[in-house]
């Protein structure tokens, strides 16, 4: 068991509850122990950093400070939400680069900024680098052989490269490797890092429809049974906007969108309720059915073999 300081962020308490639940469920199976930060607050993204640069930094700085224990080395800070992750990384970088800015922020949070050394880690990064496909495939009890998955990274996980840098910004591989470890096949497709329009989902609805449509159709054309993501914004957008997208695309679209943790949960044999798979708007029923069929076929083949 390796312990990580855990920063869920607001999404994982609201729209992305299933991400949080599935992560907490699957983590122990992968040797991850989550120690939730006490008294964590908004990371400073979306509303905050859009309105005030300083506020965006101050909130992030506050939470980074929380990750520094009174004594000893801070544990790595695991942040499943891509947006929080991005905010915390960018903040640490900006404050390190600009002492003046840092001083301002310190007066704003009324404490010295000690969070510099904190290593903020994205979930796929931890799964990919710390746990590793090797260990994951060992934890798998129901291999998802025959399932085709389109891994969708979005923008916040791997960009800007200077702030993230653990995976290729143009052609990331982490999720693909993790998915492959479950036995499922990550499809080669065009839109893994295209913008989903999450940031515009309120202001420019029509545009979002088009962007989501492009992604969903690309996934469908690539033969994917589902899309897997690690970002609550992307998920919300891709999952909830499929009607809008279908209209834009002029063809029916129903592509289930799962969190990577949910897929892992399925592969590791966790019961569906623990993964709250039913909370998605786009039904995952057909997907689960297919998984069951594949499982049965496999068993049949197994028995036939023996």
């Amino acid at each position: 068991m390796r312990t990580y300081a855990y920063y869920p962020g607001c999404s994982l308490e609201g729209t992305a509850k299933e991400y949080d639940r599935s992560l907490r469920a699957v983590a122990p199976l992968l040797g991850i122990h989550l120690a939730e930060l006490h008294d964590w607050s908004c990371c400073g993204s979306s509303a905050a950093h859009a309105t005030s640069h300083h506020l965006g930094l101050a909130l992030a700085a506050r939470n980074l400070n929380l990750a520094v224990p009174r004594s000893g080395q801070p544990a790595d800070l695991l942040v499943p939400c891509a947006m929080c992750y991005n905010r915390l990384r960018v903040t640490a970088r900006e404050l390190a680069a600009d002492p003046g800015l840092r001083a301002d922020v310190e007066t704003e949070i009324g404490a010295p900024f000690a969070g510099g050394p904190v290593k903020t880690r994205a979930l796929p990064e931890v799964l990919w680098k710390d746990v590793g496909p090797e260990a994951i495939s060992q934890a798998v009890v129901h291999p998802l052989d025959g399932l085709k998955i389109a891994c969708y990274y979005g923008c916040l996980l791997v960009r800007p490269m200077e702030a993230t840098g653990w995976d290729d910004a143009e052609d990331p591989k982490s999720l693909d490797d993790i998915v492959a470890a479950t036995g499922a096949e990550p499809v080669v497709w065009s839109h893994k890092v295209e913008c989903c329009g999450g940031g515009l989902s309120i202001s420019r609805r029509e545009l979002v429809g088009k962007l989501v449509a492009d992604i969903l159709t690309a996934a469908q054309d690539a033969g994917a049974d589902a899309i897997v993501t690690a970002c609550p914004m992307c998920h919300a957008n891709l999952d909830t906007r499929q009607g809008l997208a279908a209209a834009a695309a002029g063809r029916p679209l129903a592509v289930p969108v799962l969190y990577i943790t949910q897929l892992l949960g399925l592969a590791c044999g966790l019961p569906e309720r623990k993964l709250s798979l039913r909370s998605h708007l786009t039904s995952v029923g057909p997907l689960l059915a297919k998984i069951r069929d594949l499982k049965n076929q496999a068993q049949a083949a197994g028995e036939g073999g023996s």
Binding site: D168, E170, D171, V188, S190
Partner: protein, 659 residues
């Protein structure tokens, strides 16, 4: 008591702007050994030097300290100056007030204090200076040129035409290098082979040039004027003296090997001549792929060779060449674009590099000059060119600009439009850089006459779709996404150093930059010399270059080498190791650490208690010693010292700092 004169340079405002010269002068005047101190606006200028000469005679100075820019800049200038004033040139010390003081500190106070310290160090050291003298060493009137590409060819021809012998060493079986693989050359579009092959022939026929093809430089000993270059002549398994290059063996050889000359697009045999105009036109057996070497059976070539030139058990041969100068023209390699996942990691057969495209359009290439898709041989209708693949990309490639891609991509566009009627050509670019005679005009022709469509923006992804390639990029000028369905994509891959550039540099004893290119002695003023005297640079081994630049630089390197070879003798270093025989215990640990084999044992005889006793001491060979001083530290009893950097002088400096 030494009489030291100190000359403090303002370097305009470069030094005076940060260092309070007046205070430095004041402080220096206090120093006991200093009998004269003055400051000048520009000490290196003629008036500045004149006032040094004047002061030397007026104040009977016997030591001079110049406090100015880095000694690496003007030490020699001022040595000449005081020599002109009748002092031994080595009675000079330079305090580095510019590069290591005024330019790196903002705080005037701190900089001034430091400046005074630096002068004090120089004064302390110069007081320990003694006159030093050089001696002469002869020059071997022969040059070794490493690399048989256009750079090496040009350098070899120029040196040979100047009347000196040249040994030209080429790693592959034939001269020609990358230029031989090219189809047409910008901006004139004359065919590469037509202008290169005559030069190759000229080299082959030149009475003063010896070619060692399929050979590599293994070791370089000695020093400027007196190098000993060890060359490994790799076994061709063919007797060069007998082989007529008739090529019958190649027609009959049963093997099939990807042809590196065609960048793997075509095939060759295990016994081969890389290309028809090869020089020397001799066959070579590639033992990795030869059926006989691999399985012990075949020997067809041996049977069909009328000249009886095949020698299966031919060994590698090591030869030593004496030379006075060396020209490195080892060329470049192409960037491996497989790090670009978004471009398919080099997995898509129809995504090729510029060099591969050259072979496709070349009449002597694998497709007889027909542009065909490597995957299915179809003629592409839409071709996308992507520039700066690897170049100017710190994340995945190199930081520098490869300088040639803009032009050859324009050339490729023109050739495509010429050869494939009705074809569409798109070029994704960051900038179009056409600095060169006739270059801009050439680029304009590509766009205006040939209708090549330039899209300003990076390509973010290439993915296959129904046998074609979808190229997704951005058009930053129209501010929108640009998506092109192409049949073929050509990547302008960066020019990078040879994979073994580091090893080459070490063999030659020259340094290389963070990218791996061999470094010149000075980026502006000594562009073809290296920090190792007698070794010169030509062509892309020093940095990306196109053919005109390469040829120009090769001729420059050649003239430098020729100028060196014209001299009868060279002066040896003056700052070399010297032995105090009275102290030397003769343990010769110094010999063990000397990189130049400059130290040998010598027996001396002296009288001890009325008897003649002979003992061993170390001796330094003046023309071999480079003055690195490794021996001085290996020497426990302090008998070994380094003139110009003696223990006494270094300690004097240390004490002066810490005062």
């Amino acid at each position: 008591m030494p009489r030291v004169g100190v000359f403090i340079c303002w370097c305009g405002s470069n030094i005076a702007g940060t260092v309070d010269i007046a205070r430095v002068v004041e402080a220096v005047a206090e120093m006991p050994q200093v009998v004269h101190v003055e400051d000048n606006k520009y000490t290196c200028s003629e008036p500045g030097q004149a006032s040094i000469r004047k002061a030397v005679s007026d104040h009977r100075l016997d030591r001079v300290v110049v406090a100015a820019c880095s000694p690496r800049m003007h030490e020699n200038t001022f040595r000449k100056t005081i020599a002109a004033a009748g002092l031994n040139p080595y009675l000079l010390e330079v305090a580095n007030l510019r590069e290591q003081c005024s330019w790196v500190h903002e705080d005037k106070e701190a900089a001034t204090v430091k400046a005074i310290d630096l002068v004090r160090m120089a004064v302390a050291k110069v007081c320990r200076h003694v006159p030093l003298f050089t001696s002469q060493s002869p020059v071997t009137k022969r040059a070794v040129v490493i690399g048989g590409g256009i750079a090496g060819i040009q350098a070899a021809l120029d040196i040979a035409d100047a009347g000196h012998e040249v040994v030209l060493v080429e790693r592959t079986p034939s001269l020609g290098g990358h230029m031989a693989q090219l189809d047409k050359t910008f901006p004139t579009l004359d065919c590469s082979a037509c202008i290169l092959t005559p030069k190759m022939v000229e080299v082959a026929q030149h009475p003063k040039i010896t070619i060692y093809a399929y050979s590599e430089v293994e070791k370089v000993d000695g020093y400027v004027g007196n190098f000993t270059v060890t060359i490994r002549r790799k076994a061709r398994s063919v007797d060069e003296t007998r082989c007529t290059g008739c090529g019958v063996c190649m027609t009959r050889c049963p093997s099939n090997v990807p042809n590196e000359f065609d960048v793997g697009l075509g095939k060759r045999k295990a016994i081969y001549v890389p290309f028809p105009q090869a020089v020397p036109n001799k066959a070579t057996i590639d033992r990795e792929h030869c059926i006989y070497y691999q399985r012990g059976r075949c020997r067809i070539c041996e049977r069909v060779c009328e000249a009886k030139a095949i020698v299966f058990d031919q060994p590698d041969e090591l030869i030593e060449v004496q030379a006075g100068a060396i020209v490195a023209a080892t060329g470049y390699a192409q960037f491996d674009h497989s790090v670009y996942g978004e471009y398919g990691y080099g997995q898509y057969p129809d995504v090729i590099t510029g060099l591969e495209f050259e072979r496709l359009v070349c009449a002597s290439g694998p497709t007889e000059g027909k542009i065909k898709r490597p995957s299915d041989g179809r003629i592409p209708e839409t071709v996308v060119f992507i520039k700066c693949v690897g170049s100017r990309d710190e994340n995945k490639g190199v930081s520098y600009c490869s300088r040639t891609c803009c032009m050859y991509t324009a050339k490729h566009a023109i050739l495509t439009r010429e050869k494939i009627p009705g074809s569409r050509v798109y070029i994704f670019y960051m900038d179009v850089r056409t600095a060169g005679k006739g270059y801009e005009e050439f680029y304009r022709r590509a766009t205006e006459e040939y209708g090549a469509r330039y899209v300003r923006g990076r390509v973010s992804r290439i993915y296959p779709k129904g046998g074609r390639l979808v190229v997704v990029g951005e058009d930053t000028i129209l501010g929108r996404k640009a998506v092109v369905e192409a049949d073929m994509v050509v990547l302008a891959a960066a020019m990078v150093p040879q994979p073994d550039a580091g090893a080459i540099a070490r063999t030659l004893g020259v340094s290389y930059d963070q990218d791996g290119f061999l470094t010149e002695a000075h980026p502006k003023l000594r562009p073809v010399e290296t920090n190792t005297a007698g070794v010169f640079l030509a062509g892309a081994c020093q940095g990306p270059k196109d053919i005109p630049d390469t040829v120009a630089q090769a001729s420059a390197a050649a003239s430098k080498a020729a100028a060196l070879l014209c001299r009868e003798a060279l002066e040896t270093e003056a700052m070399i190791a010297s032995v105090d025989e009275s102290r030397c215990s003769g343990c010769l640990w110094c010999e063990a650490v000397c990189p130049y084999k400059a130290i040998t044992a010598k027996t001396i005889t002296e009288r001890v208690r009325g008897k003649n006793v002979s003992r061993t001491v170390a001796e330094v060979n003046k023309s071999l010693c480079h003055g690195c001083g490794a021996c001085t530290v290996a020497c426990r009893d302090g008998a070994m010292n380094l003139l110009g950097f003696t223990n006494q002088q270094i300690l004097a400096e240390v004490e002066a700092v810490c005062l």
